[in-house]
């Protein structure tokens, strides 16, 4: 109910902003929520709240704000990186409700009530996540820019294998999945490392996978 209250507020706001353009429009708009403030080109603001690393945040954002920009520019969680901003490089990978996604290709407003985990939520400098420790141990990076995305992705990959989700290189779709090197490389293909630290990244993930197996 708290959520719908906020929505009503935001829709009322949209309606006020949109009233001028609506009056001038010949298009029949059956419902208030279909008001057209964007036709003027003015930014449309909306409210959203979600949990990041266990803490609830309420934000008022331009509807265009991606989850990535909300995290970096509004919540100042700059561990998550912007690489290509088009879902091709994986530097922006975060975990939403237990699943890895590209935070650059999703709008913040679409995550009302979601639980988001970023690299800052996986471990701390004094209490590293096992994968963070393994990346250091195995030298799984050079410049480090792709590393937060690599680690968030790897955490989710281990969960996906545990859940029995097959991949392109899984030989038998109906048998349990084993995390071979080929499986690992296929599953991590959405994370690009321009320094080419792939073999060490694979070692780091294998090390943790072997330990948890």
């Amino acid at each position: 109910m708290q959520i719908s209250g906020r929505l009503e507020l935001s829709r009322r706001h949209l309606l006020i902003v949109g009233a001028a353009s609506l009056a001038a429009s010949s298009i029949a708009t059956p419902r208030p929520a279909a008001a057209q403030p964007a036709a003027t080109g003015a930014p449309v603001m909306t409210r959203v709240s979600f949990d990041v690393n266990g803490e609830t945040h309420q934000l008022e954002l331009d509807t265009r704000t991606t989850l990535l920009d909300a995290l970096r520019e509004h919540l100042h969680l700059t561990g998550t990186k912007k690489g290509c901003d088009h879902g091709q490089c994986g530097a922006c990978t975060v975990i939403v409700d237990g699943r890895r996604i590209n935070s650059c290709l999703t709008l913040a407003v679409m995550h009302q009530g979601d639980e988001i985990t970023t690299i800052e939520g996986l471990g701390t400098p004094d209490g590293l996540h096992p994968l963070q420790a393994a990346f250091i141990e195995q030298d799984g990076y050079q410049c480090g820019y792709c590393t937060p995305g690599q680690i968030c992705s790897a955490v989710a990959v281990l969960a996906e294998v545990k859940a029995g989700i097959p991949s392109h290189v899984t030989a038998d779709l109906n048998a349990p999945v084993r995390l071979t090197n080929a499986e690992l490389r296929e599953r991590m293909s959405g994370n690009i490392c321009r320094c080419g630290a792939y073999s060490n990244i694979a070692e780091a993930i294998s090390e943790v996978a072997g330990r948890s197996a």
């Binding site: 949109g18 279909a34 930014p43 879902g87 990978t93 290709l105 679409m110 996906e160 991949s167 959405g190």
Partner: protein, 316 residues
């Protein structure tokens, strides 16, 4: 990105009505293709209707022994469903051959069908493209066209449809279920969902304005050996140059659909009668009307060899 207003849909019918009644509105589900195109201002909706809250994310058994896949079922979940892995292996394989783990976690069944071409000239707003700007011309024709369509194209457009999933669904004779703005439901065989470009390549499907896909129904399992073979420029996370979805029965009959060769998943049922005679005979019929460019003529022998490999594997 242009500014837009945003609403969360409350029911499929209300979503369809809102889309039809609002100027320049679009549905958003996974958003992985739409937001990419909005950032480039190739897509410029003034209003987004978020359909993620609609309860269309289930895979249900149907009365005729098939499956009804909700429009919002994520690609990962469809590929991993035990029934799909067991009975519709070609579909699991096609899904797993597409995109990356992150994208498959977000991309939906309906969104996958409706994704737009990856033609580089469609993406380059400095160049003409009839699909992006009707009447402006086609930069791919006479351009660098090694990725483009070899069959079913037109003087206006030689783009391909990028989906792997849709190719498998075409081989499976899936049926797309929709709701229209007036609330009426209809079913569209997948063969009739996607259009060839003709002189209006900007119109990619037979969906009406505001019509919302609610599910994709898979007929009861047809058995056989099912395979999806995708040929691409790198081993993972790339679009198909050519792909083959095949279902081969013990008696040598079967079904074949191709991806990466046309504006829609390419299947010619009559060509399947040639299956017992081998890949050369099938592709000769399947691609009889092909008009490749000098850059993409390689796709014809590539399709034949990819199918030959699939048939060899299927027949053990």
């Amino acid at each position: 990105m242009r500014s837009f207003s945003y609403e969360r849909a409350t029911s499929p019918g209300a979503a369809a009505a809102a889309a039809a009644g609002t100027a320049n509105a679009k549905f958003i589900a996974g958003g992985t293709n739409l937001l990419d195109l909005m950032k480039l201002e190739i897509e410029t909706p003034a209003h987004l209707i978020d359909v993620n809250g609609l309860a269309l994310d289930r895979i249900e058994d149907t009365a005729d022994g098939g499956l009804r896949v909700g429009a919002l079922v994520r690609n990962t979940d469809l590929a991993a469903d035990a029934r799909v892995r067991r009975d519709y292996g070609v579909l699991s394989r096609a899904l797993l051959a597409g995109a990356s783990g992150q994208l498959r976690n977000k991309a939906t069944t309906a969104g996958n069908l409706l994704q737009r071409t990856r033609c580089p000239y469609f993406y380059d707003t400095n160049l003409p493209c009839n699909k992006r700007k009707p009447g402006s011309g086609c930069a791919a024709i006479g351009g660098f066209s090694r990725q483009h369509a070899v069959v079913g194209a037109s003087e206006a457009c030689i783009a391909t449809h990028p989906s792997d999933m849709a190719v498998a669904m075409r081989a499976l004779d899936a049926v797309v279920e929709t709701v229209r703005p007036d609330g009426a439901a209809r079913s569209i065989p997948i063969a009739e969902l996607h259009r060839l470009p003709g002189d209006s390549p900007e119109i990619e499907t037979t969906l009406q304005p505001g019509e919302l896909i609610t599910a994709v129904a898979l007929p009861k399992p047809v058995g056989g050996t099912q395979a999806y073979r995708k040929v691409r420029d790198r081993a993972s996370y790339a679009f198909a140059l050519v792909s083959v979805a095949a279902i081969v029965q013990g008696d040598g009959t079967g079904r074949v659909a191709l991806g990466g060769v046309a504006h829609k998943p390419w299947r010619v049922e009559a060509a399947e009668a040639e299956l017992p005679r081998g890949a050369k005979a099938v592709t000769a019929r399947l691609l009889a009307d092909a008009k490749p460019t000098k850059d993409n003529a390689y796709k014809l022998p590539l399709a034949e060899r990819a199918l030959a490999a699939v048939l060899r594997e299927a027949r053990g």
